[in-house]
């Protein structure tokens, strides 16, 4: 009996030791040199595995970063601080990048009459293939939520049959942009709060007949834009977000409210005692909101000022403050 116990103990111990030793040797022989930076970078990345960078998950992206195939700024969700930290780690040049958010250029949804009764597969792609759209407008949001499905951050909701993006949650990864078969989602700089909310290239009459919030191509916005950043392209207003100053005049002028102004609070500009009365601000103001004689301290007409901040950029004395103004981080 004791023989069995002895044999058991010895053989199991021997086997365990042999296997352990074998594995240890094998581990040394087959050691794969791993770049520890990959793991470090992976820990820094958001870990959402959204695929917005074009690589298979965050680990794939981290690998590509170390190999120098990708830039830290390709990862939209990680934000500028993380990207800078990764650039530091890899010894890369830091880049200024503006965070962007996805914007759905449609507000139609339930406002637009339905075209067909649909009982098929509940994805926007299927509808597009079968019938182009569920509703009369061929350009609008189908509202079955293919973008909601792909959003790794839960930032899109379908409200009244239209996809709506929550700016706070959106990281600008761009997954929804690719998923939308209607191609009505685009990435817009986060600081630009005035956005076109229609994608229809139809003529005014056709749009008016089916949707009361569609762009009818009247061009009022383009005519009234103080910086001329709106252009009419094929019956649809298009904003050049590079030049837009968030003034919101277009949204106010739009007869069908197909431009949304998400600015909740427009600050006023203040000119302090450093003003030398050079008149630069007066010249640049699109709204005649600054008055004053040359050589004297200028004043802002508060009723007219929309807080666009154009004057702050040109003031040589830095005498103009626009606290919290949109699109202007500086508070000189």
């Amino acid at each position: 009996m004791s023989g069995v116990v002895l044999y058991s103990v010895i053989s199991l111990t021997a086997m365990g030791a042999a296997f352990g030793l074998g594995l240890a040797l094998a581990a040394r022989k087959f050691a794969v040199e791993r770049d520890e930076r990959v793991e470090k970078i992976e820990a820094m990345l958001p870990g959402a595995n959204c695929g917005g960078c074009g690589y298979a998950g965050c680990i794939g992206f981290a690998r590509a970063l170390v190999e120098g195939k990708a830039s830290p700024y390709d990862c939209a969700p990680s934000g500028i601080e993380t990207a800078n930290a990764i650039a530091d780690l890899l010894g890369l040049q830091k880049v200024e990048k503006t965070p962007r958010v996805a914007v759905v250029a449609c507000r139609g949804g339930k406002r637009v009459p339905t075209k067909i009764t649909y009982g098929g597969v509940r994805t926007c792609q299927a509808v597009t293939l079968l019938a182009d759209n569920l509703r009369e407008c061929p350009y609008g949001c189908i509202g079955l939520g293919s973008c909601v499905e792909v959003c790794p951050f839960d930032a899109i909701k379908i409200i009244d049959d239209v996809a709506v993006v929550e700016d706070e949650k959106c990281t600008g990864c761009g997954m929804c942009v690719e998923a939308c078969p209607k191609q009505i989602i685009s990435l817009v700089p986060k600081t630009k709060k005035v956005r076109i909310a229609c994608s229809s290239h139809d003529r005014g009459k056709a749009v008016k007949a089916i949707c009361d919030v569609g762009c009818i191509g009247c061009g009022l916005c383009a005519k009234n834009c103080p910086v001329g950043c709106i252009e009419m392209q094929d019956n649809l207003a298009v904003i050049d977000y590079e030049r837009c100053i968030n003034c919101g005049i277009c949204a106010a002028k739009c007869p069908t409210k197909s431009i949304i102004d998400k600015v909740s609070h427009r600050p006023k500009v203040l000119i302090d005692s450093k003003c030398t009365g050079c008149g630069e601000c007066k010249k640049v103001c699109k709204f005649n909101a600054i008055e004053g004689e040359p050589g004297e301290r200028h004043k802002v007409i508060l009723e007219k000022c929309i807080g666009c901040g154009l004057c702050g950029d040109v003031c040589p004395e830095k005498a103009i403050s626009i606290a919290g103004a949109l699109g202007h981080q500086s508070e000189n």
């Binding site: 069995v4 044999y7 058991s8 053989s11 086997m15 365990g16 296997f19 594995l23 087959f30 794969v32």
Partner: protein, 195 residues
């Protein structure tokens, strides 16, 4: 040793006594890794490889270590030790020699360590007193059988994604029902041979 017996063992392990659908071994990966055909295929190959290797090594351990010292009762723990070591070793070798395969198998390899189907193969080989060649064939066919079941399941589940299923049955519940139906269907193979 005739080829006919080997063939019977292979058919037995693949169809008649399919490890997943008849013996109900390895159900965890069967439901866990059967969502997509690609990963199911990867998992299948990994299992075939590990099952064959495990059959060979456990055969040696049993007949040349456990039997001579009359400690056959230790076979379960010894086999688990062998399988775990083997999987670790295989993982290392694959990572070194074929990074592409390693990446595609990736997380599935360690999963196999605790797969009862692998232990099942090793134990069955002993119980049926197979010779070495028979053990080899049985291990390999058991892996094939597992892969076949996994692939069938993955194919069905990919289609289920688009099917109109009552809300309360979506996801895992319908997968369980499908697994049950497949198991019943595989019962039909029982008439192929009298084992």
């Amino acid at each position: 040793m005739d080829v006919g017996r080997l063939f019977a063992i292979a058919i037995g392990a693949i169809l008649i006594n399919n490890f997943v659908l008849k013996r109900f071994l390895g159900l965890c990966p069967f439901l866990g890794v059967s969502k997509q055909l690609d990963s199911a295929l990867g998992m299948g190959f990994a299992v075939i490889f590990v099952m064959t290797m495990a059959s060979i090594v456990t055969f040696g351990i049993y007949h040349y270590v456990l039997v001579p010292y009359h400690i056959e009762y230790l076979r379960t723990i010894a086999f688990i030790l062998v399988i775990a070591t083997l999987v670790q070793f295989v993982e290392m070798v694959i990572e070194k020699t074929s990074p592409g395969l390693y990446r595609s198998l990736g997380i599935y390899l360690p999963l196999i360590t605790t797969n009862c189907a692998v232990l099942g193969v090793a134990v069955l080989n002993i119980d049926k007193t197979y010779s070495f060649v028979e053990t080899l064939v049985h291990g390999f066919s058991a892996g094939i059988g597992f892969t076949v079941a996994l692939l069938l399941m993955a194919g069905i589940r990919e289609r289920l994604e688009l099917a109109d299923i009552p809300e309360s049955l979506r996801g895992v519940p319908i997968a369980f029902i499908v697994a049950g139906l497949m198991s019943i269907a595989f019962l039909g193979f029982a008439g192929l041979a009298a084992e």
